[in-house]
Every structure is written in structure tokens, then in C-alpha cells.
């Protein structure tokens, strides 16, 4: 499979309108779909490039997704976590994105 040297700390997520988000690989991999795309044993293109293009998600939503991924990682171990603030107009798109990305 692909060489391990390509496993970087940060990966790039790209929205359909061209925004790029560089986030921690560990946070990104909370999303099942991203995790599988970057799985070193499979060796897909995304893994080679450390870059996942997500043509179904726009920049605004992806930003919120990234925010959530970090939020999730930060609070993974704690209890009584405060709810994340989500604008109502983003809700639906976030839900779709979640269904698409999660896998878990």
C-alpha cells in the first residue's frame, strides 16, 4: 500500500465552491467517510494527496462541519457538553452533510 511518509498531521478538505480547510487529520477522521477516504491500507487518491474533495458540500457548511469535528474531538471525553451553536438556516444542509460524511 501507499508509503507511510504521506501520512501527514493535517489534511485538506475542499468544498464545492473551492474553499480549502486544513484541519487535523485526527479530527477529520471523526467523519467516517473522510476516514475511509484517507485509509492508508486502501490507497485511494485522496490518501495519496492528503486532500479530500467534497463536491456535495459548500464552503459555509463545510466550515461548520470542520467546527463540529474539532468540537467533537475536544469534548469526546467530557460530560455535560454545551450545545454547539447552529444557525437555523444551516440546519438542513448540515444534516445532509452529516448523513453523507458520517457513516457511523
Amino acid at each position: 500500500m501507499a508509503a507511510d511518509r504521506k501520512v501527514t498531521d493535517y489534511v485538506t478538505l475542499v468544498s464545492n465552491d473551492g474553499y480549502e480547510f486544513k484541519i487535523l487529520r485526527s479530527a477529520a477522521c471523526i467523519a467516517g467517510t473522510i476516514k475511509k477516504a484517507l485509509d492508508p491500507t486502501s490507497g485511494f487518491r485522496e490518501m495519496e494527496q492528503n486532500r479530500v474533495e467534497l463536491p456535495t458540500i459548500n464552503g459555509v457548511t463545510l466550515e461548520k462541519v470542520c467546527e463540529y469535528l474539532y468540537y467533537n474531538q475536544k469534548h469526546a471525553e467530557s460530560k455535560d457538553v454545551p450545545d454547539m451553536e447552529i444557525q437555523p438556516e444551516l440546519c438542513l444542509e448540515l444534516l445532509i452533510a452529516a448523513d453523507y460524511l458520517d457513516g457511523e
Binding site: K36, M84, E93, L94, L95, I96, Y100
Partner: protein
């Protein structure tokens, strides 16, 4: 994803952001092409996100079922054409050759082609797993939504079934019905066989294939017991192992000795255990061990134990390691280790009986050699005495032999049998059995003699520790003895002689011994022995008391005779067995006529004793006593012509003292005949004869001269005082023939046993009465059982004797039969 998401899955709206309809066929073409790339390991060209998106859309558009079916078909096609084809190419003719005609190919060829096949299969399986996991990743959304909702196995699982059906269950070739799975099993088994024969094989490779079998299931439910490894391979493995080890054990039994067999068997067991760890599955360890143990041990242990080089041989040659091995093997298949136990017991019995027979032979051997010139009863009597001596030696040898045997088996037990408690009991029983065997009735006497010998000589110069060891050994033997009462009788007799004649090396040790017996056998056993010691110490006090008393009388006679006395309680001391040997029951022993000087002392003591303990009857036993005499022999020419008077202190028996005193009053040239001596002293004939023998015949202590000079003493023989007596020491001890403790002659033994039997009858009666008094009414069978139990610590009573005693008690109206009941008794107060 959003915090607070419930179990309800939120679905995207059916028509929405990606409203465009999906063209399934076109999309599938893309996906299929990508899958091909994945299978040919070109995944890096593909975008996971794109493929995932396609599959996502298809599922979203409710085409999940179609997608699932297409993927399934695709994978099936791939496996059945590409993978199967590749594998079939690996099947070399030598591999496919009928297992029955292996001879046509060399082992090495078969191993190489087998390994090639295994490698190919391992590769195919590894690829399949990786590809399927990638496919499953891409089709994640389908697994999550479609498979779950429709209760289909995940695509990964389905693909595993496909591998089983399309690869493992596929025929080897269009013309060959055997399937790959069968071949795989066969190849692995063949490799294992090669390893058993000493070849080196690729364990890791086999382990991979075994893992594959373990990861696949025979049915579609993936139930635990349906792993292919279990249902297919393991069964075959156990089967072939069974056949193999059956044959091997047969061969080994013929070719090697028991020790080698055990080593081999143990090695094989370890090998199989290692194999399960390194090559197969751990879960098989237990099963294969069972098979190997069944074939190598269970079926063979009997032959193994009893073969020429078996336990018998190992014991005789001290093969501790081999004994340990065979014990270990036996313990594996049998908690009770019955085969080894039986062999050990047989051996102990055989060796024990051999020792018994040796002792019997040694004690009887000289008997059938009567003097050819049978001069008379005396000569045969002497030989008999010699025999008695030899018997004593035989007795001590017997004890030593038994102890050596015990040491030997103790060592085996410690070193080879891991101090197994079952075997300990078994060995104990065997020792007890041969020691008490009916063909060898002398154990009690021999053991007591052994102690006697040690008390008198054996422990001289030994440290406390060593003495303790000797005593412990004796105790060990006593524990084996069933007829403890008989032993007690002998011990009492021997102890009695030791005490009275002052033969013990150490009184302390004597007491120690009794103390040990008390611990082992209970205080009731030793109470009489204790009483004997008590008598001795009382006697000591009495002697001192009397001495003071005499001094108090102010009698300063320089020729006064010192008296040392032992007053013995008649019931405690086995005095009857001390009567002159061969005298039989002589209740009214004729009183010996003491010389006046002695008689005065005797009367003096009687008076003194009567004052202290009125009403007690003293009976004098001169046959047991001894006396120290100062004797003056007239001057005779010594070396260099000097005339010298010689003084000797003679230590003689009481009888001898009486005899010698007769000569005091006699002029030197006068003689006395045997009959005259007898008439004057009233010493029993046999005792007199023996004493005269030691005074006139024994070369070193010839204080009397006998005419005619011969070993035998006849009624009209004449005796003179030997004025020319020469002794090299001042103190001379005149031994009386046969005073030591010796093995009993047959007649004595018979008497002892008769007395013992009589005692037993009393004890049995007492036990019966005690039980009946407590129970009032009791059934016959139970009564007998309880009686045996009660007496077990002393001896093993015979049932017929108990029955006789019951009858006798009924006759004497202690008991009666309960009317209307066939076998109940009632106690009559």
C-alpha cells in the same frame, strides 16, 4: 452528528439538493470499472469520494438492491474466473496425484508444490480481504442503509461466503470433482506429517491458511461452531493424527524399550502442543492432546508398564527419570494412575516376599543338617542353638532388607512420583501386605529383635541424630504390622531381658523408643511398657533403701554381700517367657538352694520388703540374676618362674555363683558330679547344664574342669575347680549360653502364639461385651464388624474366633439370641 441526535435517523429529503436523477447503468459502469482497478491494485488512481458519492446516490435513489446484486455478481464473476483460474494453475500434477500413490512423487517435490499452492491461496485470500474491505468502504452507505434495512449480510460478509463457495468449494479442475478445500486440508496435513517426520516446514504459511479457515464459516449464519477450521480441517487433523499415532505407538512398542517409549511419547505430546500454538489454532490443543494421549498412552500403558523394560525393570535399575516419565504419562490419562500403581504394588510384593523367603530360608537352612554321628540330644541341641543364632542374624537382615526396600521405594516416590499421595497409600498397603503375609508370621518378632539388637549394640557410638533415625525406622516398620499385640508381646519379652540383665546401651534411648511408640500407636499400647520402666526405677530405689537399711544395722561384716534387686510386677512382665528355655510351663518352679551367706541376705531383704509392703508375695527368679564374685586362684608358676597369686572378679549368673560357691567348701582335688551339684543346689537341670557348660566348656572362662572333657554335660560327669585357670583380664564375664534375645525356636514360637491367641480371645470377649453393653440389642453382622474395628489397632481378628466367642458368651449367659429374629443378640446384664 449534531449534538443531541437521537436514535431516529434523519433522512435527507427525497428530492432536494441533488435533485438530478441518477443514471444507474452509467454509474454502475463507472463503479465496476473502478472495482476492477481496485482488484488489480490500482486504487491510487481512484477518488474515493467520487465512488462513494456514486454509491451514495444510487442508494439514496432506492437502487440499493440493484447495486448490491450487481456488486455480488461482479465479485462472483471475478472470483470464479480470475482468482480460481490463477489458483488452478498452481496445481501441479504431483499435488493432484492420488494420495494413495504418493510413492510416484518424492516428498520434497510434494512439499515444494504444496507450499506453492498454500502461498497462492494465501495470496488470493489476502487480496480478497483487502479488496473487499476497500469495496466495503466505498459501499459503506449501502451497508449502512440498504443492508441494515433489508437485513442482508454486509457486502463484506457476502464476499467472504463467495470466496468459500467460489474458491474453496470449487472443483480442482473441470474434470476433477475434488474441491480446493479438501486439497488444502490434505496439503496442510501432509506438511504436518513432514514435520512429524523431522522436516522443516513453513509454519507461518500454514498458520495463515489456518487463519483463513478459521475466518470462514460453513453456513451463512456465521455460528461459532461452524467455522471451516472446525468442521473441515480440525476433524481431518484429529482423524489422521489418531491413525498416525496408533501406528506409531505400535511400532514403538515393538522397537524401543519402555523408557524410550515414554520419552518419545512425552516429546510427541509437547510437539503437538507446540504445533497448535505455532501452526494451528490454540483451541485444538486440548483435542489433539486427548487424541495423542489416547493413542500413545491409554491404549498402551498396560503393555508399557508390564513389558520387559517396563516398571519392573526401571525399579530394579533405579531409572528415576523413566519412572517419572511413565508416572507422568499414566497421570495424564488416569487420575488414579492405576497401571503404574499396580505395577509398583506387584513389584513391592514380589521383592517383599523374596525378602521374606530369604529370611525363612536362612533361618531354616541349617536345620536339615542333623549331625551324622548323632551322639545324642545334646549335640543337636547345640546345633539348634547355633541355628537360633543364625536366625537372629536372619531376622536382622530381614529388617535391614525391608528398610532398604522401603528406602528404595521412598526415593522413587519422592523423585519420580512427585510424592503422590495415592501412590503413597498404595505402597503402604503393599508393604503392609507382604510384611503381614500369612506365609511369613515372624514380622513382629523380627522387628522387635531388630530393636533389641540396636538397643544392645547397634546404637553404641552413634550420635543422637543417628539413633533417632534408627528408632524412626523401627517405628515405620511397626506401623506396618497388623498384629500389634503380638509385636507388643515380643517387645515386652525382649525389653524385659534387656532391663533385667542390664543389656541396654542407654536407658534414655529405651524410653525414647517407648515414647515414639506411644505417639504412633497410642498410650494403651505402651502402658505395660511404661509400667516395666516404673518397676525398674522403683527397684533401684528399693536397692538403695535396702543398702541404707543394712548399713543402718551397723553390721560391718567386710564379707557382706551387696544386693541389688529388681522387684517386678508379675502381671506386667512377661516372666513366663523368661523361664528356662524348653522348660515348658513350670508354674511351681523348684526353689533353688542358696548358699547360707546368700540365703541370709535373701531373707534379710524379704523381711525388709515385707515391712514396707505387707501382703506382697516375693518370688525369687535366680535364673535371671547375676553376681559379681571375687575369686582368688592359688599361685602358679608365671612367666619367668615367678609365683603369683591371681585375683579375678567374675561376673556370673546367679546359678553359676551358687555352683561356684559349692567348690569353695571343697578341697581342691575333690570333684562333684553333675547329679551331686543338682541335688545340692536344686537348680533346674537345663539351667544347670547350661551354666556348667559356660563354666567348664567355654574356652575363655574355664573355671571348672570337667571330666571327661567334652562339650556335652552328662549326669555322671565330674567337675573340679580349675586351679590353673588363666585369664588375661582382671574382670571376667562368664556368659551363659543362649541368654541373649534370639529368634524363637519353632516350639517357642508355637507357645508364644498360643499365649497370644489366648490373650486375643480375652480381648475379643471384652470387646464383644463392651459393644453389647452399649447397644443392648445388636445384629450379628454389625457386631462382628464393630468388633473388628475396635480391635483393628491391635490385631486383625478372625471372624471364626469372634463367632466362637459369641457362642461362648451365650453359653455363659452374657448374651442371648433375640427370639423371632434370626441374627440379633441381646445383652444380659
Amino acid at each position: 452528528m449534531i449534538a443531541g441526535r437521537g436514535r431516529q435517523r434523519i433522512r435527507p429529503p427525497r428530492r432536494g439538493l441533488h435533485g438530478d436523477e441518477v443514471d444507474f447503468d452509467n454509474t454502475w459502469v463507472t463503479i465496476e470499472a473502478a472495482f476492477r482497478e481496485i482488484h488489480t491494485k490500482n486504487a491510487s488512481r481512484l477518488s474515493y469520494e467520487e465512488l462513494y458519492r456514486h454509491a451514495y446516490r444510487i442508494v439514496l435513489k432506492k437502487k440499493g438492491e440493484q447495486l448490491y446484486k450487481n456488486v455480488h455478481d461482479f465479485e462472483k464473476r471475478w472470483l470464479s474466473s480470475e482468482v480460481r483460474g490463477d489458483l488452478q494453475q498452481l496445481l501441479s500434477p504431483s499435488l493432484l496425484a492420488d494420495p494413495q500413490s504418493v510413492a510416484s512423487t518424492t516428498a520434497n517435490e510434494r512439499r515444494v508444490s504444496g507450499e506453492k499452492f498454500l502461498k497462492g491461496l494465501k495470496q488470493a485470500w489476502g487480496d480478497h480481504q483487502v479488496c473487499m474491505s476497500m469495496l466495503a468502504d466505498v459501499l459503506m452507505y449501502m451497508d449502512r442503509v440498504y443492508c441494515q434495512d433489508h437485513r442482508r449480510p454486509s457486502i463484506y460478509t457476502a464476499a467472504m461466503f463467495l470466496f468459500r463457495d467460489e474458491i474453496l468449494k470449487s472443483p480442482l479442475s473441470p474434470g476433477d470433482e475434488r474441491d480446493l478445500l479438501g486439497l488444502l486440508n490434505h496439503v496442510i496435513l501432509e506438511q504436518i506429517q513432514m514435520e512429524r517426520d523431522g522436516d522443516v516446514i513453513d509454519k507461518h504459511l500454514i498458520k495463515s491458511c489456518v487463519h483463513m479457515l478459521d475466518g470462514l464459516y460453513a453456513d451463512d449464519l456465521e455460528s461459532e461452531d461452524q467455522r471451516l477450521y472446525h468442521v473441515s480441517f480440525e476433524k481431518a487433523y484429529l482423524e489422521t493424527s489418531r491413525t498416525f499415532y496408533h501406528a506409531e505407538s505400535e511400532l514403538m512398542l515393538q522397537e524401543s524399550d519402555a523408557g524410550a517409549y515414554c520419552k518419545r511419547a512425552k516429546k510427541r505430546i509437547h510437539e503437538e502442543e507446540d504445533r497448535c500454538r505455532a501452526t494451528l489454532m490454540e483451541s485444538t490443543t486440548f483435542k489433539i492432546r486427548e487424541v495423542v494421549e489416547a493413542e500413545l498412552i491409554e491404549g498402551r500403558i498396560h503393555d508399557l508398564v508390564t513389558m520387559d523394560s517396563g516398571v519392573h525393570f526401571m525399579i530394579d535399575n533405579d531409572r528415576m527419570d523413566e519412572l517419572n516419565l511413565i508416572y507422568d504419562l499414566n497421570a495424564r490419562v488416569d487420575d488414579r494412575k492405576s497401571e503404574v500403581t499396580r505395577a509398583i504394588q506387584r513389584r513391592i510384593m514380589a521383592m517383599g516376599i523374596e525378602i521374606n523367603n530369604e529370611a525363612l530360608a536362612a533361618s531354616q537352612a541349617p536345620a536339615p543338617a542333623p549331625p551324622p554321628n548323632a551322639e545324642g540330644g545334646d549335640k543337636s541341641r547345640l546345633t539348634q542353638e547355633k541355628n537360633v543364632n543364625m536366625q537372629t542374624v536372619a531376622a536382622i537382615k530381614w529388617v535391614d532388607d525391608v528398610l532398604a526396600l522401603k528406602d528404595k521405594f521412598d526415593k522413587i516416590w519422592r523423585e519420580s512420583f512427585e510424592s503422590d499421595s495415592l501412590l503413597d497409600t498404595a505402597m503402604f498397603n503393599s508393604f503392609r501386605d507382604f510384611i503381614n503375609s500369612t506365609s511369613f508370621p515372624r514380622a513382629s518378632e523380627y522387628i522387635s529383635l531388630f530393636i533389641d539388637d540396636n538397643m544392645k549394640k547397634g546404637i553404641k557410638g552413634k550420635t543422637d541424630n543417628e539413633i533417632d533415625q534408627v528408632l524412626d525406622k523401627a517405628i515405620t516398620l511397626i506401623k506396618y504390622v497388623q498384629d500389634k499385640d503380638l509385636f507388643e508381646r515380643y517387645y515386652k519379652k525382649h525389653l524385659c531381658k534387656r532391663l533385667i540383665m542390664n543389656k541396654s546401651v542407654s536407658n534414655e534411648v529405651e524410653k525414647q523408643m517407648v515414647e515414639k511408640m506411644k505417639q504412633e500407636l497410642g498410650p494403651s499400647f505402651t502402658s505395660k511398657l511404661d509400667a516395666m520402666f516404673k518397676d525398674m526405677s522403683i527397684s533401684h530405689d528399693l536397692t538403695n533403701g535396702y543398702k541404707n537399711h543394712v548399713q543402718g544395722l551397723g553390721d560391718r561384716d567386710p564379707n557382706r554381700i551387696d544386693l541389688s534387686i529388681n522387684v517386678l510386677t508379675k502381671t506386667t512382665w512377661p516372666l513366663e517367657s523368661l523361664g528356662g528355655s524348653g522348660d515348658g510351663h513350670e508354674d511351681n518352679r523348684p526353689q533353688c538352694n542358696f548358699p547360707a551367706a546368700v540365703d541370709k541376705v535373701k531373707r534379710g531383704f524379704e523381711q525388709y520388703y515385707a515391712e514396707k509392703h505387707s501382703g506382697r508375695q516375693l518370688t525369687w527368679l535366680p535364673n535371671m540374676g547375676s553376681a559379681d564374685i571375687k575369686a582368688v586362684f592359688p599361685k602358679v608358676p608365671h612367666k619367668g618362674g615367678i609365683l603369683k597369686e591371681r585375683r579375678h572378679e567374675l561376673n556370673v549368673s546367679t546359678y553359676a555363683m551358687v555352683i561356684l560357691l559349692l567348690f569353695n567348701e571343697l578341697p581342691a582335688d575333690q570333684s562333684l558330679t553333675f547329679e551331686e551339684i543338682q541335688a545340692q543346689t536344686n537348680i533346674p537341670k537345663l539351667d544347670l547344664k547350661r551354666n556348667l557348660q559356660s563354666l567348664a566348656v567355654a574356652p575363655r572362662t574355664r573355671i571348672l574342669i570337667k571330666e571327661p572333657m567334652s562339650k556335652e554335660v552328662k549326669p555322671d560327669d565330674k567337675f573340679y575347680f580349675n586351679e590353673g585357670f588363666k585369664g588375661s583380664f582382671v574382670k571376667i564375664k562368664v556368659g551363659v549360653v543362649a541368654t541373649g534375645n534370639k529368634v524363637e525356636s519353632d516350639q517357642q514360637r508355637k507357645e508364644t502364639e498360643e499365649r497370644n491367641d489366648k490373650d486375643r480371645e480375652y480381648v475379643t470377649e471384652a470387646a464383644l461385651v463392651r459393644i453389647m453393653k452399649q447397644r443392648q440389642v445388636f445384629a450379628h453382622q454389625q457386631l462382628i464388624l464393630e468388633t473388628i474395628n475396635m480391635l483393628a489397632s491391635r490385631f486383625k481378628p478372625e471372624v471364626s474366633m469372634i463367632k466362637r466367642k459369641i457362642e461362648s458368651l451365650i453359653e455363659r449367659e452374657y448374651l442371648e439370641r433375640v427370639e423371632g429374629s434370626s441374627d440379633d443378640y441381646r445383652y444380659l446384664a
